[in-house]
Subunit: 252 residues, 4 copies
């Protein structure tokens, strides 16, 4: 019996680039979310569905979130169109246990900025240069099956300073040929949930078709799956406990 | 010459309890902010002023923030009255370098929740029981001058689970006689700023008059003072760097 | 197919108290290692064997370590009798991937002090007082299945300052009725291995028979299991890479 | 009055390369330790002396260590010649409060490996390629006075995986033109002491003459200076506290 069987993933994509650009549609005919979901569904312990911006409530109703163990998020050109009500809902669901995997340009999504508390800004350049992803924490489950590094032949440069809190676990640091480094594989514990940010994945390069990248996404889904507990409170509440658990003596 | 001379502190207080309750006014006749500012001003390297909720813009205009190195924040009953525009302004000022010291019930302030990204909820009980504050990081500047622990004879209990990100540095963990523990001395690096949360300080006990507590506040002001740098960007911006810093070769 | 099937655990115990004291032998007739191994073996994905101090090479030959995924370690009165050669061997095995779960008085074992680099000293008192173990990181796999806290009715007090590096993940903080706190559930990433220190487990109390404690041990075995990778170097080596991976231009 | 006046630094160097190689002697005629001490002594709050391997007890008697606030350490070819007794002494002095700044090839020194508990291995290449040092924690005192990055025109490549514990604060990540990244500015809290590892500084390049590098060394000396406390125990001791601090009730 496998305690991590049947991890339910929802892959969210704003799904605009693929409709607006024939070049991008050639790489991701059904959208990046479809490619990612397919890679996850090839694993026996993962079951991935999808949701997109233009669906009602962006496809992220409370019912969908309640049956999602891990949410993947890809956004870029339409961050401001995501409604604050949905952002509130996703934030509380993460804090109460759902995993979140934030991809590439979603560094600037409302939900990631909300959960980090920082601007999540960075430097960028889009020449298709080489990115070499180095493993800096080989004992971490998200590095499973990898070697010391892997390469993205054509990538968008994302560079430091990346305005995020210090990650709880820094799994990958990327090297870009043009001269920058980037903490592109960063883990965060927030409330009862876990968050992984992963920088590769520009829409105009076939990055989500690459086996090493798919391996990371699979590992991330498993790592971010919720930890079942017994009787933990809703973390939006600050309960009053008027009775001491152990006897006290008030000093005069 | 002292590179940390003249740290400019602004102590912010909602200043409502002291006006509403004669008991509290007896402890803090001019408000908790005045007591805290006085303790800081007793140090030659600190210069503290104050600001309160009912002043225009809560006393926190851009001009005030621009000349503040470290902001102290005490709030409790009036968190919702703090305007979102001021919260935005304080957040950006912290991310661009100002220190922030968050006191006691300000765990639930808009600004702390904004910067943490979590609910910052906790358990609580107000019986005036003993709190013993243990040093868990004796190499940290905020522990300077203390021993292995100090005691608050009458305190409000704040207990785990405290819904904050794992602190970058956990300086104090409190023991409460009634049975709880609390990560009540927690440091966070965010953007170019530094944040310290400190749990002692309930309005109905004379906690800010206690020498050990004043020592922690002085240490925190020094620790959170900004780090001057040369030419760092505004962290709200994500600049485009179209030219590589070092030569690149695009692969076919 | 379960990627975490058949985690091979070796439970090491110095196994002296149980032979020297009839009271302790009544609690652990076959030794604490046997009780712990039995609790682990009740899980379908764990297979636990044992090893003890008085076996040749303390039962920890290279062959045994090579087929161990996670090593549990309980020691107390005989720390100095553990040979340095075995400590070297265990250290390298951890750094190259084996998990290590360090129990109670093994805070002062040679192997834990070696891997931490600090003295690992603490305060202690043996009156059998109440210990309440609080969860401070509910998103962590080692907290799986627990509630907000659990209690050890009779425990040895271990108190701060505990001289360990700041844990990468602080899962539990204990409250002791006599007045102390303790970071008793602490995770460390070291090399390719993961280490968990857990404070409950004094030999004269039946702590390892308690369901919540057994749950933590099971969770820890799963969490500390090695992460398989492809082609990672032996971490004792610092390889020379005379050829650059990407073209360089030496400046004049 | 400045609470951080008169920080007493001892710069330790094995001082062999400079005697063995005329090329290196041209760069550092009196040894790298002399150049570093001179840079530190240019600051009014720092007072630096030196010690070298071939002095009696390597120049690090208990008396010297007792009057040292921060020890800098440069070693390379003679790590095994450092006596274990001196390593023990330095380790205990760090754990009881002295700062330690570990430079370049001292990643493989006995003292750094001892304090980290890991192998501290890395990849390396000595072609004199460009190193670009990126600031990843701009709120940290060791980044004071710098911009977003600085460059070392000719450097020895040090590359990941660098076998260190996750740093408490990761201040710098280096980019090397040949294709690697390196966590070369890493802070560690250990016991009552603080440790900073800084990778630039190969003996055959004039790196310690560079203003940005000197700025980092000055910042590191200030950051690592001891935190005075009142009545903290010697951390090699694990004291028995037979009396509870607060009343207890033993359960039946």
């Amino acid at each position: 019996m496998n305690r991590r069987e049947n991890i339910r993933v929802t892959v969210w994509n704003e799904f605009r680039h693929e409709k607006a650009s024939p070049e991008i549609a050639r790489i991701y005919p059904e959208g990046m979310h479809a490619t990612i979901a397919q890679a996850l569904n090839a694993q026996p312990d993962l079951r991935a569905g999808t949701a997109t911006l233009d669906e009602p409530e962006h496809g992220l109703t409370q019912a969908v979130l309640d049956r999602t163990d891990v949410l993947f998020w890809w956004g870029h050109m339409a961050h401001p169109e995501v409604s604050d009500a949905v952002v509130d809902r996703v934030q509380q669901r993460v804090l109460n246990g759902m995993g979140l995997v934030v991809l590439h340009s979603a560094h600037f999504s409302k939900i990631f900025r909300r959960l980090m508390g920082t601007n999540c800004s960075l430097k960028w350049r889009e020449l298709g240069e080489l990115e070499r992803v180095w493993v800096t924490l080989p004992s971490h489950p998200i590095a499973e099956g990898l070697g010391e590094y892997f390469e993205i032949p054509h990538s968008e440069m994302y560079g430091e300073y990346f305005d995020i809190p210090q990650p709880d676990e820094l799994v990958f640091v990327s090297w870009f040929q043009g001269g920058e480094v980037f903490r592109g594989g960063s883990c965060f514990y927030r409330g009862r949930g876990r968050i992984f940010y992963f920088d590769p994945g520009h829409e105009s390069f076939p990055i989500y078709h690459q086996p090493e990248v798919q391996r990371v996404l699979v590992n991330a889904a498993r790592w971010a799956a919720p930890v079942p507990m017994e009787g933990f409170r809703d973390l939006a509440q600050a309960p009053h406990h008027p009775e001491p658990m152990s006897p006290i003596t008030i000093q005069p």
